[in-house]
Symmetry: C2
Amino acid sequence: MFRDSRVTSHVCLTARALGADGVVIADQEDKVVESTIRDVTERFGGPFRVTSGEPWRKTIREWKDAGGRIVHLTAYGLPLPGLMPQIQQSRADLLVVVGSEKMPGEIFKTADWNVSVTSQPMSEVAALAVFLDWYHQHDEFDRNFSEARIRIVPSKNGKEIQEVAR
Amino acid sequence: MFRDSRVTSHVCLTARALGADGVVIADQEDKVVESTIRDVTERFGGPFRVTSGEPWRKTIREWKDAGGRIVHLTAYGLPLPGLMPQIQQSRADLLVVVGSEKMPGEIFKTADWNVSVTSQPMSEVAALAVFLDWYHQHDEFDRNFSEARIRIVPSKNGKEIQEVAR
């Protein structure tokens, strides 16, 4: 539910790096972003799914029908620290919905949780990042991606990339 | 040090919401972003400074000359969890540098700390968000902005905005 390909890419890369299993880019098909993200996943590892173009109502209905729950990140919601324990305890598959200011009002009623990462105008990329960091209890720093062809070697002040033997 | 106004806005809004005192948009003057951010600050409160157009080397040199320190957020750096204690203990004024993949290599040597929020291709908006959330020990959820004219009232499933009496 976003319009701008650059920002959509930021959302997708953030989701992948911080431990989501995949992204659904709703309503608008975006083959450019899809192929950017697939390319990153092929080089740096996965698994990570990306699809685009499905109407958002359909995505959400099917998610709920399968027993999943919906988190909607919005500055208007209740603060993250209070809601995080029950979201983690629910143990359901989670669909995290982010978008621009132009989100349809309906989503506020459909979501199981409307969650705010500050009650300030912010970035959905930032909100998603903080949400995932908390939700996964910071395990993105220990995460391994499967079938990576290259990986970045942490470095004090250089750029080091290593090919992964397979 | 970014080129895209939408992403620059995301960086600025994230910086403000998560407790930075201001932003410097280096090299390129961007009056559109400046006025967007000033407008948000006027409505939702501050203080928050925004300037643009100064060459990045000048910004960094003056910052260091004044005793400040530089954090550079990059996927190539050392992981955040290991570096955060010494960054917090330094107690110096901190300039957090974020940018796109096209950052000049020089910045890696100039920075006091090259910090990674995952060693994966990600978003500078996301990296900044996680960095500030950790650096400020999650106090963005208790932060008050001065001289706000309006504020969002956290809500379970609606949009509630309140005018602030002054």
